[in-house]
Structure formats: C-alpha cells, structure tokens
C-alpha cells in the first residue's frame, strides 16, 4: 500500500518535471495555460485556509490577489508617473514584499470581521472585495479639491483603469524568463509545491486544529483556550499571503495588470474551486482548481467547437452560432448550486469521513458501552503537575441584566480549593449565566470575580481558560467534525506554544511538544474510557461518551477549577452513575475544584460539599446538602414541598 503510494507520488513528480519538455518537444504550447492554471490552484489553496480550515466564508478573496499583483506591479515596474514607480525593484524581493503586504492587509480586513460571524462576515468580505477594485480604479487619477484649493492634483497611484504596464520580469542569470514559458512553469511549480507542503504541515499542527475548532464551534473553542481573534486573523493573514505570492507571479508573468482581473467573479470562481474539491481537503482543492481550470480553458472551447461542427453537418444555424464560452459564469453558478445540493462536502470530502451520513442526524446511534473511567489510569501529568494545586474561586456581588431582566442579582459564591460545589435552582434562575460570567462569555454589570487571588474581570474566555478554569456546556458543544483525539488536543492548545514558523518548519522542540501532547491526549482518553475511539468523529459518539469527551477536553486544558453544566442531563442511570464516579475521582485524585450545575438531586446531594441555590438570579440559600434539603425557601422555590417526604419514601435510586 505504502509502496504503491510512494510510486504514485514519484510518478506524479516525474510527470510534473517532464511535462513542459514533452510539451515543447511535441509543440503543444500548453505550458503557458497550465502555468496560469497553477496560479489559480495556488489562489484556491490560500482561500482554503480561510474557508476550509477556519470556516470563514470569504467572498472577496480576489482583493488579496489584486493586492499581491499590484504590490509587484507598482514596485517592479519601470513606468514613471506615480511616486511608487520608477524604482524597478527585483522580482525576488518584490514577491516577498507582496506576500507581506497581502498578509498585512488580510489582517487589516480581517480585523473588523472578527465581531461578526457566518453570513455577515461573508458580506463584509464581499464589501472589501468590491471596495479594493474601485479604489484601484479611482486611485489612478486622484484630485482633491477643497473649495478651490487643490492640494493633490491628478495623482496617479495605481495606473487607474489602464493598470500597470509593463511589469518587470524576474531575473536569474542564464534563465530565459523573457522568451520561454518553461522557467515560469518551474517557478510556479516550486512556489505551489512549497505552499502545499507548508499548508499540509499547518493543517496538522496546533494552529490547524485551532482553525478547525473555530470552524466547528467558535464559542466552544474560546472556552477551550483558543483565542478566536488571533486565530482568525492568522487565517486571514496566511490565506492572503499565499494570494500575495500568486498575485505577484501573475503580474510578472502577464507583464501587465488591470483592475478588471480582480472582480467579484474571480472570488467566486476561486470559491467554486474550493467548494467543488471539498473545503478543508488539500487534495480536493487542487483537484477542484484543476477541474475548473480545465473546464474553463479547454472543455468549454472544445465543446463549442464540437457543437458547431455538429451544427454545420446537420445544418442547424442555432448550433453553429453557439458559443459556450459565453456561458462560463452560468456554469460556475450551476456548479455551485449542484455541488451544494448533491455533495456539500465536495468531491474529495473531508479528511476524516463521517461514519454516519451528515444529513442523517436522526439515525439511532447504538450506544456501545465504553469502559468506565478508571482510577488506576488517571494521567500522571494531570495529577502531579506542580503549581496546579487547587485554588479558590471567589465571586462577590455579581450582577448582570439582560434588558429589563435581572439574570444575576448580587450573587456571592465561593468554591474553596478541592471542593465540589453544587449550583441548583429552577430553570431560568441564572445558573448558566453565572457560568458564562465566570468563563468570560458574559461580562458582569458589577461585582468582583477572583480566582487564585487574581481578578478575572475583563479577561477573554480563552485567557480565563489559561488561568485554569475549564467548563463543559449544558448542550454538548464538541468539535463535531474533528476526531475524538483532536478534540482533546484542542484542549491542550493553551498549554502548547508552536506558532506558524514552528508548525511549518517543525524544529525538534515542536516535534517533541506535539508528541507529548498526543501522549497526554491518549492518556486522558484512556482515563475517561474512550481510548478505543480516538479516531472517530466526535459527532458519532453515543451521548454519554460525548459528555465524557467534553470533560476530557476540559481536563486537557489543565484546569484547577472545572465548571460542569448539567453533566448528567439526558443520561440513563448507568451513564449517570459512571459520570458521578468520574466527578468524584477528579476531585479526589486531581485535587480539582468543581462547580456543578445539576438537576439530578441525588447526584448533587451525594457528591457536593456545599450547595448554592439560585432563584430569579438571586442566591436564596447556601449550605451543606443536608441544610439545603431542609431549607424552607429552597423547598418552596425549587425542591417542592413534597420533596423531603418523597426522598424518604423512595428507597432505591430511581
């Protein structure tokens, strides 16, 4: 198998190396077209980082292509007329500048989109995609007039509608870039191969996992220690930098650029390539880009030729006059619709194929019994980490309004180190809001939050994770289309520090860090009894296992305080029992403090050291389980007057 794969790869490399010479020998003259196609492949790969990995729909990616091309054009053109012109810098320098400028503008354009998600983000990128060509057109002739005074008159910054012409070629001694398409082919091949190599490594790195976590569930990623701001900006910047390379090579190869080459349609064509091949899959994107380029350049023209021939022999004038190349955008539109309807995951699909069909959420998942958590496999690193001794969460007077509703009203709550504190109350009492305040998702209107002696106020959720507070969610929020192991690895994100350079170059330090991270993740999975399922997609786990995976993910952040939001909700008695055991283990063996929202009174009363009761956002009682069970206000507001009698009457659990 592996021999065959290597053979396949080797023959592909051989084919790519021999192709231009074979083309020249046979006189086919296709090298130019193939090189142009490869530029689009490179662009599609860059877009894939944004759309496929980070899940941010970018409808204006051609803007970065334009920026790369214009950076090259303006710095490497001998044409005078603008302050940028006249210093034809070397291509080899400009290509890096172009990539850097694109990356910078990627971050600049990405910055305002960080506050919005989904389709709004798409529209913002579309807006930028529109503004950039308009700006390039208009900056070719800038006159500023303020009541008759003209500080700037007819300034040509970008060449306007006519663009920049000529653009300098690369210079290498003895290499005929002027006359021969073959050096261009190899130049683009080298850039493309290097980009693929880098992207492949990025995908399988701490950073790649963070992008995918953002794609799957931004809030959950934030609460697992992934900083969505920097992660998204990095996706925009890196994605843009690849288009900077592509744009600068494009400008130098074409020798001329005009603003018309970077319109909305180009963005959509690139999106077509990514979606058709399968967003997130490198092989798919390359395949999609090649298919669309071939379709655009070859199939449309050839089919037109063929249909016209048929028309002539049959004597049908309509067919003779047909020009299918006019229909290209129609076909791209149709392609987008058909791919989304028939195969939304694209031709190559995702790297990890879902076991259960994506549309089939209702399919009954047979709950396979997973091994219960075991005391003897508590990961040593989790148990023994120094400086991770239990700490105190101290919340004082926290208040939060939503409109006119007081969700939290001067709530005080303390979780002493190593304690299990239950937080109970009727639905809508503000329990989850309290969690959201502690984890930074919701800012309190007033009040103090201190953990281990330091304030948590105004910290981002991911920074609070860094301080040692991890949580689970009431409605499980796993990274559904990532593997079980990757889910846990995302949890370790904030304890690792490989950056872009580390991810791509993989020095020994990063390799060791990654190996250790995987070991730890496996130990954690072993501990919660999910080791056998580490390669499954999280979404395919049975319900109880998903709860446990969420806890494993939270533990991977090396917390000192764990917030569990209704961990036994929807579980059957057996699963509940296993989970209760696990929570007890965590406290006993890991010296973890736990704050627990739970409606199952047996669980709460059995494992909590102290219990706080919220009602309408106000703390109405605090005490030991025994005190709470007899507290008149708690009985009135929550437990119900018959509770005590019922508890006494019920012998066996449920």
């Amino acid at each position: 198998m592996s021999v065959r794969r290597h053979l396949g790869a080797a023959s592909l490399v051989l084919l790519l190396l021999v192709y231009p010479f074979a083309d020249a020998a046979l006189g086919l003259q296709t090298v130019h077209a193939v090189s142009d196609g490869m530029i689009y492949v490179l662009l599609a790969l860059g877009l894939n980082i944004v759309v496929g990995y980070a899940g941010l729909l970018d409808l204006g990616y051609a803007a970065f292509f334009a920026i790369g091309a214009y950076a090259m054009g303006l710095l490497n053109s001998p044409v005078l007329g603008s302050p940028f012109y006249g210093h034809a810098w070397s291509f080899w320098l400009c290509i890096w500048i172009a990539a850097a400028v694109s990356a910078l503008l990627g971050a600049v354009i990405g910055a305002p989109t960080l506050r919005v998600r989904g389709d709004y983000l798409a529209i913002i990128t579309l807006g930028f995609g529109e503004i950039i060509p308009v700006a390039i057109r208009n900056l070719g002739d800038v006159t500023v007039e303020i009541t008759g005074w003209r500080p700037v008159e007819r300034l040509n910054l970008t060449g306007g509608e006519n663009g920049v012409n000529p653009v300098g070629r690369p210079y290498l001694p003895g290499v005929p870039f002027e006359t021969d398409p073959i050096p261009w082919y190899f130049l683009i091949l080298v850039i493309g191969a290097a980009s693929l190599w880098a992207m492949n490594r990025l995908r399988d790195s701490r950073l790649g996992r963070a992008w995918m976590a953002i794609r799957e569930d931004e809030t959950a990623a934030d609460c697992t220690g992934v900083n969505p701001v920097s992660t998204k900006l990095l996706a925009f910047a890196l994605g843009a930098s690849f288009s900077g390379f592509a744009g600068s090579v494009y400008a130098a190869k074409l020798q001329a650029i005009t603003p018309g080459a970077f319109e909305f349609q180009v963005s959509i064509m690139l999106l077509c390539m990514v979606v058709l091949g399968g967003a997130g899959s490198l092989r798919g994107v390359v395949l999609g880009a090649m298919l669309i380029t071939v379709f655009d350049r070859v199939i449309l023209a050839q089919t037109t030729f063929l249909v016209r021939g048929i028309g002539r022999t049959l004597g049908v004038p309509a067919l003779v006059a047909l020009d299918l190349t006019l229909w290209r955008w129609f076909f791209f539109g149709l392609g987008l619709v058909l791919v989304m309807l028939l195969r939304p995951q694209g031709l190559a699909g995702r790297r990890v194929q879902p076991v259960v069909d994506a549309e089939d959420d209702t399919a009954p998942i047979v709950p396979e019994p997973s091994a219960p958590p075991r005391i003897d496999v508590v990961p040593a690193w989790l148990r023994a980490a120094p400086g991770r001794e239990a700490a105190l969460l101290d919340v004082r007077g926290v208040t939060r309004h939503f409109g006119g509703v007081v969700a939290l009203n001067h709530v005080d709550l303390r979780v002493p180190g190593g304690a299990i504190v239950g937080l109970i109350g009727p639905n809508g009492a503000g329990k989850t809001t309290f969690f959201n305040v502690v984890t930074g998702l919701v800012r309190p209107d007033e009040g103090r939050l201190e953990f281990a002696g330091r304030s948590l106020l105004r910290l981002r959720p991911n920074a609070i994770v860094g301080r040692g507070i991890a949580r689970t969610f009431q409605s499980i929020r796993l990274f559904a289309h990532m593997s079980v192991l990757d889910n846990v690895l995302v949890g370790e994100h904030c304890r690792l520090d490989a950056g872009v350079g580390g991810a791509v170059l993989r020095p020994a330090r990063v390799i060791a860090e990654e190996r250790r991270a995987r070991e730890r993740a496996r130990e954690l999975l072993h501990f919660v009894g999910l080791l056998g399922k580490s390669d499954e997609l999280a979404r395919n786990l049975p319900y109880g296992d998903q709860r446990r995976l969420e806890i494993a993910r939270a533990l991977a952040t090396e917390p000192r305080l764990l917030l569990l939001d209704e961990p036994t909700a929807g579980m059957n008695p057996r699963e509940t029992e296993a989970l209760t055991g696990l929570i007890g283990l965590l406290r006993r063996d890991l010296a973890l403090s736990i704050l627990l929202i739970e409606h199952d009174m047996e669980v709460v009363m059995a494992i909590s050291d102290r219990i706080s009761v919220l009602d309408y956002g106000t703390l109405i009682a605090e005490g030991t389980p025994a005190e709470i069970q007899r507290h008149p206000r708690v009985i009135e507001a929550y437990l119900g007057t018959g509770y005590e009698a019922e508890l006494a009457a019920r012998g066996a659990p449920r």
Partner: protein
C-alpha cells in the same frame, strides 16, 4: 475577466446632471429628490431581502437579479402587448396596472421556484450552504439575462410621459427639476409598501410570517405550515422586486444584465442599515441609501459611490449589526 461590468459610475446611467447655474441649495434639493426616487426602488428590493432573512436567515443573494429580470420581464410584457412608445392616458390606467401585475406575478413565481429548487433542499443544512447556492443562482440569472439581452445596455421604451411639474403645472421658474416620473416612482412604491404592511400586520398569512420569523419550531408546533409561509414570503418578495424592476425601467429607460448585482448590494445594504428583519427598517434604509448615494455622486464623486455604500455596509455590520430599527437578536450564533 469582466472589466466591462461596472464601468458606469452610479446605478444606471443617470438622467440628470446639475444645471450649470444652480445654487448650492438647489443642487442639494435636486439631489435629494433624485435620492428619494432611487431610494424608493432600493426600498422595494430591500423589503425582499429583509423578509427572506427574517424568516429563514438567508441572504438571498439572487434577489437583486430577480429585480433585474423584473425589468426585462416587464419589457417583454410591454412588447407582447404591443407597447413601444409613450402610453396614452387610457393605456396608463389599463395597460400599466396590467403589466405591473403580470410582472409581479412572473418574478414572484420565479422567486418561489428559486427557493424550491436551490434553497429548500438545504433548510436543515449549515447556514452557509444556501448562501453559496444563492450566489450560484445569482450567477445563473445574470447570465441568462446576458444571453437573452446581450452585454450592451438595452433601451427601455419611454412609456411614461415626463412632464416638468414645477414649470408646466405650477408655472414656477426653478432650476429644480421634478417630473411626473419622480411622482410615479413614489406613487407606485408607497402604496406597495403600505399594502405589504397591511398584509403582514393584518392578515392571517402575515401573522404566520411574523410567527415563523420569530421562532420556526414554535410556529410549526402551533400548526403553522412553515413551508407554505416561506413560499408566501418568497412570493411577496419576488413580486416587490418585479415592481421595482418595472419602475426602474420606466424611470431610467435603461437596463443591463449586471444591474441586479449592483442594485441588490445597495438594497441589501439598505436592509442591513434599517435593521435586517424589520420591514419599516428596510423602507427607511432604502430611502437613506438612496439619499446617501445621490449625495455621494454629487459631493464626492460617482466613481467612489460604490465604495462608500460598501463602507457603510461594513461599518453597520460591524458596529450595529441590528441596524437602525432591528431588534438585537438578529444574528444568531
């Protein structure tokens, strides 16, 4: 690749250029009148965006192209009925309403068909999937128009008499130019909007729409046929876009295959500015964007108007995503 697409400055070749002897105030008033007529058309289109977004949280990217096809379809109906020049007063009260109805019906059915074929199968999919198909549909519609009518701007017959009202009816000598066409735009758009308001607030179907927009599951549980409600939404939105297309054609006497994309983005900006999901917000936003684009044409440069409108869109989306009149719950995570 498609350089010819947006070489015209603003939307459509604009009729009016400032008289060389106008005072600053007259220019402002004139451009505001222009803005109002433009804005009325944007508002009609924006209503379609906002209704669909309100109910299924989809930016119906193809909606602007339905408007564009509305212009072409209305032209086809006029041609079919043998109209090629100015209408007589009798025709104005018989033929014009008939063509308006036929056009609205055509684009309404087109919009419903788009929903059935391209969006409905993706109701339970991710939110981005129908947005991507909407872009695909938009491209298909544009290219259908391109192949139907060709790339050059087409002349829309000047069927509505243009009378300089101030001068000829009131005998006021003024540099400001208000024609019967300006009145037509407002006189057609306002009743349509009032009708929609009545429909949404006073009828059973309207109530079903509002309920579905608030909470689809609950509406379903209360016995509302959600799919039929969505169908009605697309029908009404498409009808308004068709009316806007007819009005645009009669006012500017020009049409081109890419105008739907342009107008669509401005109308979408209007919907967002007003607060997406809010009908009155869409109407208000449309008028505002009309004013802003007319003023930008005058005081900055028509070349920059597009960039300015998009900048407004971005600023609103980033800093006030619920718009001027929308509620704060629009963008659900």
């Amino acid at each position: 690749m498609a350089g010819a697409r947006r070489t015209l400055g603003g939307m459509g070749g604009h009729l009016w250029a400032p008289h060389f002897r106008m005072t600053a105030w007259e220019i402002l008033i004139q451009q505001s009148i222009n803005g109002l007529t433009r804005g009325a058309v944007f508002a009609l289109i924006a209503l379609g965006y906002t209704m669909v977004y309100g109910i299924i949280e989809l930016i119906n990217f193809a909606h602007g192209d339905v408007f564009m096809l509305g212009l072409f379809i209305s032209l086809a109906w006029f041609t079919l009925l043998g109209v090629s020049g100015a209408l007589s007063p009798w025709q104005l009260v018989t033929l014009l309403p008939l063509v308006l109805l036929l056009t609205m019906l055509s684009t309404a059915l087109l919009n419903v068909a788009i929903d059935r074929l391209a969006y409905r199968p993706l109701r339970r999919s991710t939110r981005l999937a129908p947005l991507i198909t909407a872009i695909g549909v938009s491209f298909m519609l544009e290219n259908v128009a391109l192949l139907w009518k060709g790339p050059a701007p087409i002349a829309y017959p000047d069927i509505f008499p243009s009378v300089d009202i101030l001068r000829e009816w009131f005998g006021i000598e003024s540099a400001i130019f208000v024609t019967t066409k300006d009145v037509l735009v407002v006189a057609a758009a306002v009743p349509l909007m009032l009708g929609l308001h009545h429909f949404v607030t006073r009828t059973r179907w309207g109530k079903a729409m509002r309920a579905t927009a608030q909470d689809r599951e609950t509406a379903q549980a209360m016995g509302i046929d959600v799919e039929r409600t969505i169908l009605i939404t697309f029908f009404v939105g498409g009808a308004l876009a068709g009316a806007a297309g007819l009005i645009q054609g009669m006012y500017y006497n020009i049409g081109q295959w890419w105008m739907g994309y342009q107008a669509g983005l401005r109308a979408f900006t209007a919907a967002v500015l007003g607060g997406i999901g809010s009908m009155s917000g869409a109407a208000l936003g449309g008028i505002l964007i009309g004013f802003l684009s007319a003023w930008s044409d005058q005081y900055i440069s028509a070349r920059w108007t597009n960039a300015i409108v998009f900048a407004i869109l971005i600023v609103v989306l980033v800093f006030r995503p619920h718009g001027l009149m929308g509620d704060r719950t629009v963008e659900k995570a």
